[in-house]
Subunit: 84 residues, 2 copies
Amino acid sequence: MKDIFKALNDDTRREILELLKKQDLTAGEIADNFNISKPSISHHLDILQRADLITGEKKGQFIHYSINTTILDDVFTWLLTLKK
Amino acid sequence: MKDIFKALNDDTRREILELLKKQDLTAGEIADNFNISKPSISHHLDILQRADLITGEKKGQFIHYSINTTILDDVFTWLLTLKK
DNA sequence: AAGTTATTTAGATATTTGTCTAAATACTTA
DNA sequence: TAAGTATTTAGACAAATATCTAAATAACTT
């Protein structure tokens, strides 16, 4: 839960999730959407992956990233308890 | 939105919300629940208030804090768009 | 095998964040 | 008005974070 909120607490990472919502993308394709170096994007992908919000699958020399929204259910549940 | 995710990205602040969910509390009563100095709690309350997650109303020398869950709807909406 | 491409890892740096103590503000009470 | 209580503001500091460049790893191509 801690990791999820941490992962969501960044504009770039939230944008990455919005991109991956539309379609799977490689690390490079994701990086092309930002004015940030590739190592920095790689770092963001790592944080998202640790939070289980995305998964990466290596295909040849590319890594294809996909969003994993099931983990968001935990967030929904926690937020709902606040709303009584 | 940015402010909300920032506010939620901290154990202490999430616990404060859980306390305020049960009942309104003064700043001092909130502080009594943590091993953290009062100024630090005051800082957390400020961050929660800036995110509109809580409101504070002064009554005499006390400030009574209440949770505001309506703002969470924005988070729900954003999270739901990710789930397609 | 050598060069190119895709991505990550390592190390450095500036900014942000959470915490503290001390001081300030505001209200209450004697 | 003076002393006490509740809370915040100010300033300092250590830890965490986002970013960068340079180097390493891995796979493809010729």
